[in-house]
Each structure stands twice: as C-alpha cells, then as structure tokens.
Amino acid sequence: MPAPPIDQLPLSVPAFQILLSLVGQDLHGYAIVKDIETRTEGEVRLTASTLYGAIARMLDAGLLEERDADSESPRRRTYRLTRAGRRLLEREAERLARAAEWAAAKRLLPQARGSR
C-alpha cells in the first residue's frame, strides 16, 4: 500500500508547522524544530525523526527543495518552500481561517484572538 500523499488537505500538525517555518526563510532541520518551538511557545515540539520523516515525503512530493549546505555546518542542508509548497500552505491556512470563523460565529472564540 503506497503512502497517502502528504500534499493533501488537511495537513498534519507537524507538516503545517514545518511549512509555516519555511515561509520567508530557508532553514536547516534543527532550526525548523527550534523555530516551531519558539513560535508556538513550546506547544508543538517535533522530534527529529518525525521532522525528517515529513521532510523526506515533502521533498518527494515537491513541496520543499534543498539548498546548498550552509557555510557554518557543511553537512546540514537547508530547505526552501517551493511554489507548490507555498500554495498548499496558503490553502491550509485559508481552511483553518474558515474553520476559525465558523467557530467564532458560534461564539466559541474570544474576539481578540479571532482577529489576530
């Protein structure tokens, strides 16, 4: 049984966060984990194996591409969002936003956070 493609909505939490971290910046694996941890204030913490499992499939699916090894640590590769990756992320974000709107309409969310 082949793996279900990673490029389908809804994205898993790790996949969404990884793509989000790479918006506007190219990062290597370790930096992605740290970025996610900082941004989510520790709410999402990826293990390295989950990260690379997802990266491998995203590379295969063409959501990411590799950059040359960075100068500080030549063994590590940095990853950049591809056009397809960015489009997928946008669609997921829209989906989440819509979902948030529906939830807000039912007064499930405090107004301040909904507008952020």
Binding site: M1, P2, A3, P4, I6, S12, V13, P14, A15, H28, G29, Y30, V33, K34, T47, A48, S49, T50, L51, Y52, G53, A54, I55, A56, R57, L59, D60, S73, R75, R76, R77
Partner: protein, 887 residues
C-alpha cells in the same frame, strides 16, 4: 553513561529509518538529534537529555514500525498508530491461519500439550521442593538420627541417646522425640484399630504448631502414672466423634484405657511413625491422635530399642554443621553401638525420595517443549518461504526490517499465546487432579497449585517459544530483497534438516530413559520378593494389651483363628506374623555369642520377624538350610530362631547352631520368653525393605515362644475366592467377638503402592517420549515433503533422462534415513552423557544398556522410513512433462 548508551541506541535505530531514497537525510537526522539532545541537556541537565532521548527513541521506533503501513505517520495519535500496527499484524496472521484450520489446531494443540506438561511438572516441583513448609522458621527445623560409621543407617534413636541430646546439645533450642502408637478404639462398630503418634511434651513446641482447640502436652503429662491424656486430629474428631463440640475434657477409650481429650490438632503434615533407615511417615491415617511418651526411669538410660524419631529446632545463631559437630563428639561410656547423631533438614527428609523422579519428569517435559519448539520453528521456516513473495512485496512498499520482524514475531506470539493459555488451563486441571491420584505417602506438605512462580515461569516459557520459533525467519529477512523470488532450497533445507535432527536427538534422548525406566519397573514387578504376593490378603488383628491377654490366651487365639480360617472355603493357606513382609519395621539390637566384642557395630540392628511356625510354608519362603519352627516348641522349650541369608552372610556364613541374646524381649515379657535363641535354620531373603532394595539381616522368632497380642493375619486365597476379603472379618469375629480388626488389604495392592512413584515416573516419561518422537517424525515428514516439492523440476529432468521411479524414491528414503541418523547419533551421545543422572533410578539395567539403545534407534529409524514413504511415492510419480513445463 546511560545517556551515552541511549544516544547510541537512538542513532543506530534512526539510521535504519526509511527516509525516501535520500541516504544523506539519515546523517542530517542524527546530527539534528545530537543538537536537540545537547539543547535538552543545557536546559534540563542529564535527566532532561534522557527524557528527550527516550521521546525520540519511542518516536523513531514508532516511525519504523508503522512505515510498512505507508500511512502519514504523523497524522495519527502515537498510541493509536502502534495499536493499529499490532492489530493489523494480528489480523493478517489470523487470516493466514484461518485458511488452514487443521494446521492451526495442530500447532496450538501441540504447544498446549507441551506447555501443560512443563507447567504441571513445574507446579509439582515447586509444591514439593520449594514452597515453604507450614512451620514457623522451618529452615531451623531438623531431624536427628543415629548414624553408624559404616554405610548402614541412619537409624532410629534410642530413648537413652535422645535424653543425652536433650541435655547436651547446645545448638538445639528445643528437641523432641516421637514414635508410633497403635491402639484399638472402642466405638459404635466394636473395637477398631487407630494409629497415632507418641510424642514428648516438647514435640508441638519444637515444630511451632498450635492446637485448634484446647492445649498441647506439658511436662506433667509425661510423668509416669499421670492421668492419661490424648490430642485428637481434626479428622478423627470429625470422623469418629461427629465433631462433638464438647469433646475437650471428655474421656475416650484407647486400648481399653480411658484417656482424657485435651485438645484438637489442625490438619497439618507432622512427622510420625519413624522407620529405618531414617524415614518418617506423613500419611494422615497414621496421625489420628497423639499421646505423651511416659518418662519412666528406664527412658533416660535405654540404649537397646531404636524406636524413636527426633526433631530439633536449631538456635537462631547456629547451623546444622555446628549441631552435627556437637552430636558426633557426644558419646557416652558403655555405649553398645558407638552410633553418633546426624541431622537432616526437614525438607531434605521429606523430599529426598521424590526429588530425583520429579527432576526427571521436569527435564522430560522441558525436552518435549524443546521438541515442540523445534517442530514449530521448522514449520515457521517453511511458512516464511511460502510467504516470501508477500513479505517481499511489503518490503518493496516501504516496510522496514524491524516492521517485518514484528510481523513474524506477532505471528509466532499469537501461536504461543493461544497454546500457552490452553496449556496453563490444562495444567491447572492436572494439578488439581494429580494429588488425588497419588498415594498418601507422597509428601505434599503444601498442595500444588498454579502460583505466581508458575505463572512467571509459564510466561517466560511462552516468550522463549515465541523467540525460538520466529528467530530464524526474522534473520532470513535480510535475504528478502537479495534472493530471487521462489525457492532457495539448499539454505532452507539445511536449517530445516538441523531442526529435524534436533527433534530426533531429543526424542531419542527421552525415549531411551523412558524405556530404561519401564524396564526397571517391569524388572521390579517380576522380581521374586522372596515370598508369595499373589492372592495374599493381610489384616491386622489385636486381642488387647499384654495385661488383658495372658500368654495362654494369646496362643489359643492364634491357634483358633488359624484353624477356623484354614477350614473356610476358598482359603489356600493361612498364617500369622507380627507384621507382614512389606511392612517389617521392628529392628532390634542382638548380641551373637562368641562374636568379637571388640567390634560392637557388627551386632547392630537386625530386623526382627515374629512368625507362626507355618509361616514359611504358607508364604512360600524357602528354608535353605536347617529346619523350620515346630508347633511344639513353646515358651518352656529352649529358644530357637531362624535367620535370613543376609544375616548369615553378615556373620560369616556358618551360623547354624550358634546362639544370640535378645535382652529387649526379656525386658518386655519378663521370664515368660526365652532370653537366648539357637539358630536352627536359614531362609531365603524376603525383600521386606521394598522390592527395589537389597535385603537387610533379619532373625525370625516363633510366635509360640514370643506371643503377640497384636499381629497380622496373612490369608492366601484360592484362585476363585473373590469374596474372601468380605468374609474374613466375620470369621475372625467368630473366634473372638472383642478382637480389634483392621482393614483387609492385599499384598499386591500394597506392593503396587510402593511402586507408585516409579510407575508414575515411568508412565509419564513414556508418554512424553512418545510425544517427542512422534513430533520429531512429523517434522521429518515435513522436511521430506518440502524437499520433494522443491525438487520437482530436478526429478523431472532425471526421469526424462531415464532414471527409474524406484531410484528416485530410494534417494528420498535414503535422505530421510540420513537426516534421522544424524539425530539418532546425537541423541545416543546425549543419553550417554546424561545417563549418570538416571543410574540410581534404574534396577537390573544399566543407563547405557546397548539393547535398549538399539531398540529405540531401530524404532525411530523405522519411523523415519514411514515418514519418507509418502514423499518418496510422490517423487516417484512426478510427470516429467508437467515438471519441466511448470518452471
């Protein structure tokens, strides 16, 4: 340290993670793990790093595990993922087995039997060998016996020596003596014989046993002339007195005398009825009551009558070795036999006779489990080959090796669990049933049951089975991608052949001892015990105490009862003896006249047999030399005695006409019996210590000169007199209405009870051996079937080139015999190595008996031929045209 080790572990698993086809991702992964671990250490120290590494390890394993399912692993909750993977494997495995229900039932049944055998014997082993005995601080309890410096003994203890030990052994906190007591009890059904134990007042305190009701004995009860008191067993209180609540304080009549009941004892296995060499009886029917031993002036000095057993409780700070040292240094002037004391631990005393048989059974059951494992392992190997293409497909779709090994492990585990659960259930039934089938002499001090130890053992056995049968296929996973699809016969057949050889070897190594034990048993059954067993009934008869029955009355009763019964229809012979030849228990120190006072140990104990003049004729005991007793030789004639061959041999062969003194007889009877006896005849040995033991020296005295008020009546029934047992009681009652009459039993029943431990060992080992050999032959059949299937094309070519079907069939048969031969030779070698352990259980046959080995080997070879027959026929019938086209 742990962290470094953990880090290595995580790295090595992470490197095996399937990460697309980009190998370098693995390096990035490990580098990232390293960096994250360093961060965790910086933030939380070593525990923080450990926590991170553990989380990472679980995640890596989980990713590896579920990779084969090709899902987006990150999409599902972690616990779910693992469960799903497991459940899928279980389903896949069940699906496989459901397609072949007969095979599945066979596998589970085989395992269930093997596990049941192992867990049951383990349960018996723990119950007998390891469970704590029901006495507080049982490790400090010892038996103490008298020991001579030669190989005889140990012996029962004289009251004089016990008194010395009581005073003089510092290592003993408490010490107590006990002996046999038999009485008639007046009850509603007339006088019935009851059997109990005579004990010193310290007995129950030494053991640490308290009464259910009332009190135990104290020193005042031991004083000569004190009021007679008795403790009843719970069983006797319930059975003979209907559990009367007011029993304590009431009087019961034992041997015609009133005894006041002072208490009821609980159902505990306490030692009683000591016998030589150094045995105690544990049967409940010998423990119906306890009475105090009276401390007469004679008690502290008597060194003639070896009749007591001794138990002692060691002080907390001493060891048995210290006690033994004290015992061997304690001698006294004027000792007639120069015996010294020796201790034996409680457990050793109870289990030494059954330890060897139990260990043999346990080893045999383990062997069966091993054979079953080898058998199932071979089966799994061939299933693995059948599933090769399926597994290869899974691998191609991304399932890692860890994942596939898990699949195989689950497959094997499923069998083990099903077989194990069924096996444990079977063994719980067996453990409840077995004690009810064994005679009371088997010392189950605690009832066998499935305890925690057995459960842990069963679990470990199951795990071992699982690993054993999935190991080889798991190792073969490496070859999945490399080897082309289809059959790689040579490698597979080699392993398979090895597994079959192991099975045959263990089967042979089990069958040879089983055959030897069987031969020993039948040797014992056919061995001449020295007296007639067939058709002889025995019954204990008593006409009261010496005081109540003067000598004249005793002799008259003996004559009347013998005459009455011999005249009854269906009786071929009748005689009387103090005890029957399978229970001879009276040993005595005698002094041979004119024999070396310098070597007093030689005069030691002899078995004392007191028999009617007609005894030897009626029981078919051959008089080898001299003559038998004569009716007219009564108390007023000079004392005459017969001795057995063993006695004659111990005293230089020529004993006719020599004389010996028996002072104990005079002590008991006064001047009414002769104190000195002339040896007038030598008789063949009676094996009264048991048919498996050599005869001990014995002297025979005549009841005419040494009358007994309690004796055993031996009645030889004619062939057709099946109703005789039911008539005997009435016949005796007709002679003396007041006589105490015991149970009527047959000597052959008693003999077979003596052999029960051997019978069980031999029987169970045989069953195990048949199972093991049967499984091995099934395995052999499987091997030949696989070989023939793999060679279809080869055979087709050879047939096409002109080989005859008979030649083809012959090669297959030769191959089967060859595979079996390897196992047989290994099995025989194994038997030769292990034979020593068996030697002392064998009778009239050596552990390396060539005939037995040859017969077993021949049988297994014949089985190998049979196992090859089907596959050989199939090979001979291969159609070359079809075979060549098929591949």
């Amino acid at each position: 340290m742990i962290n470094r080790w953990l880090r290595h572990l995580v790295f090595s698993v992470a490197r095996r993670l399937p990460l697309s086809r980009r190998a370098y991702l693995g390096d990035d992964l490990t580098a990232t793990i390293g960096a994250l671990a360093d961060d965790a250490r910086a933030a939380g120290g070593a525990p923080g790093e450990r926590a991170y590494l553990c989380r990472e390890l679980i995640e890596v394993l989980r990713n590896a595990w579920v990779a084969g399912h090709g899902r987006d692993v990150a999409r599902e909750p972690p616990a779910r993922r693992l469960l799903d993977a497991c459940r899928d494997d279980v389903r896949a495995s069940l699906r496989q087995w459901r397609r072949r229900p007969a095979a599945a039932a066979g596998v589970v049944g085989t395992l269930a039997m093997a596990v049941a055998a192992v867990v049951t014997t383990f349960g018996l082993l723990t119950a007998v060998l390891w469970r704590p005995l029901p006495f507080p601080h049982e490790e400090r309890l010892v038996f103490v016996w008298e020991s001579a410096s030669d190989e005889r003994g140990p012996f029962r203890v004289t009251s004089g020596r016990f008194s010395d030990w009581e005073r003089g052994i510092g290592a003993f906190e408490r010490v107590a003596a006990f002996g046999a007591a038999g009485f008639s009890l007046d009850s509603r059904d007339g006088a019935v014989p009851v059997r109990g134990v005579r004990v010193t007042a310290s007995y129950f305190g030494t053991l640490g046993v308290r009464p259910l009701v009332g009190r135990v004995f104290d020193e005042r009860d031991e004083a000569p002339g004190a009021r007679r008191v008795v403790l009843l067993s719970r069983a006797m209180w319930q059975g003979r007195f209907g559990g009367a609540p007011d029993i304590v304080g009431r009087d019961v009549r034992l041997g015609g005398e009133p005894y006041t009941v002072v208490g009821i004892m609980p159902d505990l296995v306490t030692p009683g009825w000591p016998s030589n060499p150094a045995r105690v009886a544990v049967e409940a029917e010998l423990r119906e009551f306890w009475i105090p031993i009276a401390r007469t002036p004679d008690f502290a000095v008597s060194t003639r009558a070896h009749v007591l057993g001794v138990v002692a409780r060691l002080r907390p700070d001493t060891t048995a070795a210290q006690a033994n040292a004290e015992l061997s240094s304690l001698t006294r002037a004027g000792d007639e036999d120069r015996h010294h004391g020796v201790t034996l631990s409680f457990r050793e005393q109870f289990v030494r006779d059954v330890r060897a048989p139990l260990l043999v059974l346990f080893a045999a059951s383990l062997a069966v489990l091993l054979v079953a494992c080898a058998n199932l392992a071979a089966l799994q190997v061939s299933r693995f080959e059948q599933r090769r293409s399926e597994l290869a497909t899974r691998a191609a779709l991304g399932a890692g090796r860890v994942r596939l090994a898990g699949l195989l492990f689950v497959d094997a585990g499923l069998l083990s669990v099903a077989g194990g659960v069924a096996g444990v259930w079977l063994s719980s039934l067996a453990l409840a049933w077995i004690p009810t089938r064994l005679p009371a002499s088997v010392p189950f001090l605690t009832a066998p049951a499935l305890d925690l130890r057995a459960a842990v053992f069963a679990f470990l056995a199951g795990l071992a089975v699982t690993v054993a049968i999935s190991a080889w296929p798991a190792l073969r996973l490496r070859t999945l991608s490399a080897a082309p699809r289809g059959v790689s016969l040579p490698a597979r057949a080699r392993v398979y052949r090895g597994l079959v050889a192991i099975q045959v070897a263990i089967g042979v190594a089990l069958a040879v001892p089983a055959a030897l034990l069987g031969e020993s048993l039948s040797a014992l059954r056919t061995r001449d015990p020295g007296f007639t067993v067939e058709g002889v009934l025995v019954v204990d008869v008593s006409i009261g105490s010496h005081a109540a029955a003067p000598l004249g009355r005793t002799a008259r009763f003996e004559r009347d009862v013998t005459d009455t019964i011999s005249a009854a229809p269906g009786v071929a012979g009748v005689t009387l003896a103090y005890d029957h030849p399978l229970e001879s228990n009276w040993t005595q120190v005698i002094a041979m006249q004119g024999e070396v006072p310098a070597d007093p140990e030689l005069e030691g104990d002899v078995h004392l047999r007191i028999v009617s003049p007609g005894y030897f004729e009626a029981l078919g005991v051959r008089v080898l030399d001299g003559r038998s007793f004569e009716e007219r030789e009564g108390g007023d004639a000079p004392g005459v005695a017969l001795v057995n061959e063993a006695f004659a041999a111990a005293h230089g062969g020529r004993v006719l006409g020599r004389r010996f003194r028996d002072t104990a007889a005079v002590t008991a009877w006064g001047p009414a019996v002769p104190g000195e006896y002339e040896i007038v005849g030598v008789v063949a040995n009676e094996r009264f210590r048991g048919v498996d033991l050599p005869s001990a020296p014995a002297v025979y005295l005549s009841t005419r000169q040494f009358p007994q008020t309690s004796a055993t009546l031996l009645v030889r029934a004619a062939n057709d007199a099946t109703d005789l047992p039911s008539r005997i009681r009435g016949l005796i009652r007709g002679v003396d209405p007041a006589a105490t009459i015991g149970q009527v039993r047959s000597l052959s029943d008693i003999l077979s009870e003596q052999l029960v431990s051997r019978r069980v060992t031999s029987g169970v080992t045989s069953v195990f051996a048949v199972a093991a050999v049967g499984l091995a032959l099934l395995g052999l059949y499987g091997l030949m079937a696989v070989i023939v299937a793999g060679r279809t094309r080869d055979v087709g070519v050879r047939l096409a080139l002109g080989a005859s079907p008979a030649t083809i069939a012959r090669t297959i048969v030769v191959e089967s015999v060859g595979a079996a031969m390897v196992g047989i030779v290994a099995g025989i070698a194994l038997t030769a190595v292990l034979g020593g352990f068996l030697e002392h259980l064998l009778v009239d046959v050596s552990a390396r008996d060539p005939w037995t080995v040859m017969v077993v080997a021949g049988t297994v070879l014949a089985g190998a031929l049979l196992a090859a027959a089907g596959p050989a026929r199939r090979a001979a019938r291969v159609d070359p045209a079809v075979a060549l086209r098929s591949e």
